[in-house]
């Protein structure tokens, strides 16, 4: 999938700017994740890309098709689960998926067969004929994801599909997304940074309607001054001999942010002192905090 956004602005009726000059280029299959705080503009951007909302100005192209001018052709290829979408309570999972597939133009017989096949493939056969209102929150979300998964669409938009779910339910959804990503492109918005870090091949960070970070985890780490984090089990560890910055955490651990070239020396230093430590590349959480809140590691 090729996705090209060029200077997208979106201002709602009350002159509230929701998106300000968003431009990026994406040229790969896999999972593209949009992250940001509440009101950052994630849903607005996704709704524009999946042809539900018109931009105020700017353009977006999906595989060379304009989301405004060529919406009809794009809708042949995409499927979307909006934020706060709910499975109709009086319908069963099979009925939910069947109806959605028929909206995509499948015959009733084909839609029923395909929905049953998808449900069984996802291991959801125990709930296939239960009313949606009797399902757990996680099962309801899985039903909605299954509806778009059952379709032939090769670009899937999922707007905060895991919000409010417990860890186990989220992990189950992650399994679904991972199973989809080899065959389709997924555009996923999420509040859970570990979800984006675990699943996404590319990540866009939005803040107050602006794109403040874009790329792979590797690219985003380059935005930070120190791409490595070393946690040392010592509350009084001092950083005289290494370059970087140290934070004394409340649990008696010192966290050091440093350059790649310093990691080797620092590790040797820690070993020689007999201290316990762990070395990691900085997480998306750290990158996000640095970008949004302007931490020391910016």
């Amino acid at each position: 999938m090729q996705l090209e956004a060029t200077s997208i602005f979106k201002t709602y009726e009350k002159k509230i700017p929701a998106l300000v000059d968003i431009s990026f280029h994406l040229d790969q299959r896999g999972i593209f994740s949009l992250i940001g705080e509440n009101g950052a503009g994630k849903t607005t951007l996704v709704r524009i890309l999946c042809t539900q909302l018109l931009p105020t100005s700017g353009s977006a192209m999906i595989d060379g098709l304009d989301v405004v001018l060529d919406a009809k052709q794009i809708r042949e290829r995409i499927a979307a689960v909006p934020q706060e979408a709910r499975a109709v309570p009086w319908m069963t999972p099979v009925q939910t998926i069947t109806a959605y597939l028929m909206y995509r133009g499948y015959t009733h017989a084909d839609a029923v067969q395909r929905s049953i096949d998808t449900i069984r493939k996802l291991g959801m056969e125990k709930i296939e004929n239960q009313k949606n209102r009797k399902l757990s929150g996680g099962q309801k979300r899985k039903v909605l994801v299954a509806t778009v998964l059952a379709s032939e669409a090769d670009i899937i938009f999922l707007d905060e599909p895991s919000t409010g779910l417990d860890y186990i339910s989220r992990k189950e959804l992650w399994g679904l997304f991972t199973s989809m990503k080899s065959e389709r492109s997924i555009i996923l918005t999420t509040h859970y940074l570990e979800e984006a870090e675990e699943l996404a091949t590319s990540i866009a960070i939005l803040n107050k309607g602006k794109l403040v970070g874009f790329g792979s985890m590797e690219d985003l780490r380059k935005l930070s001054k120190y791409p490595y984090s070393i946690k040392v089990s010592s509350p009084n560890f001092e950083l005289d001999e290494v370059k970087g910055e140290a934070i004394h955490l409340p649990d008696g651990v010192t966290q050091i942010f440093t350059y790649e070239s310093n990691v080797y020396n620092l590790v040797n230093n820690l070993i020689s002192r007999g201290l316990r430590f762990s070395v990691q590349e900085i997480s998306l959480n750290t990158i996000f905090e640095n970008i949004i809140y302007g931490g020391a590691n910016r």
Binding site: P82, A85, W90, M91, Y100, M102, Y103, R104, H108
Partner: protein, 247 residues
């Protein structure tokens, strides 16, 4: 892949009528109760003399109720379920979606309509041409109600608002106007107020065919013209106002 438009229309009928009827049969009582209860009250109050008029009126009420109910269903599926957004990002276009939703209302009311048609066959005596004219009359008033429902759904942002619209429409369009009784029962000068409601024209056309009232050729032509004009105007406003894609 080959996409079947018939399937896309049938999808709305499944979601909004058949699955609801199968999974919640109690909902069928709702569509039966309103027209039949007024039919019963009018019949009892007039010792049966207005039963044929009321039977025709119940049919009109059912058609109008089916059409206007669409605004609540559209609002529910758009605002509460977010299902309409899923449909927007799919190959189904707005015309197909609305057609399916309108037909779903007929399917949903089908048991009621069958019962009322039986009542009409038993108590209202029509010629074959008269039956055809009444059928066209019902189809027109249903189209008006669907357009009105669609228009109101574009105004509604919440299901609670839709309930309010439904509560207002039913008495204004079907209970108070001379749908269940002849217009001559309304004393002058209040009779003129009845002509504010499009259902008055539909009822007058139907009652004329059954011989419950007598319209001149000019009146018949005028009533048809007004009914069609109102239907076209509301349809046009609904299409103009409605937004498949938000702005």
């Amino acid at each position: 892949m080959i996409r079947h438009q018939g399937s896309q229309i049938y999808a709305s009928i499944l979601v909004n009528a058949l699955y609801a009827m199968v999974n919640y049969p109690i909902m069928l009582v709702n569509t039966l109760l309103a027209p039949l209860s007024i039919l019963a009250v009018v019949t009892f109050a007039t010792h049966g003399t207005l039963l044929p008029v009321a039977a025709e009126g119940a049919l009109i009420m059912s058609m109008v109720g089916s059409g206007t109910a669409m605004q609540g269903d559209l609002s529910h599926l758009k605002n509460d379920m977010r299902m309409q957004d899923m449909v927007v990002s799919s190959p189904t276009g707005p015309g197909i979606y609305i057609t399916g939703m309108a037909l779903s209302q007929i399917v949903y009311s089908f048991p009621t309509l069958v019962l009322l048609v039986i009542f009409n066959i038993l108590f209202v005596h029509l010629t074959a041409i008269g039956a055809l004219i009444v059928f066209t009359d019902m189809a027109t008033i249903f189209t008006f109600a669907v357009s009105l429902g669609f228009f109101l759904s574009t105004l509604s942002t919440d299901i609670v608002q839709s309930w309010a619209f439904s509560g207002i429409l039913s008495p204004i369009l079907t209970t108070i106007p001379p749908v269940y009784y002849p217009i001559s029962y309304i004393p002058m000068p209040y009779r003129y107020l009845a002509y504010i409601s499009p259902t008055t024209y539909a009822a007058q056309i139907a009652q004329n065919q059954a011989g419950f009232t007598t319209l001149t050729l000019v009146q018949t032509a005028a009533y048809w013209s007004i009914l069609l004009l109102i239907t076209v105007v509301f349809g046009y406003i609904a299409m103009r106002r409605s937004r498949w894609r938000d702005i």
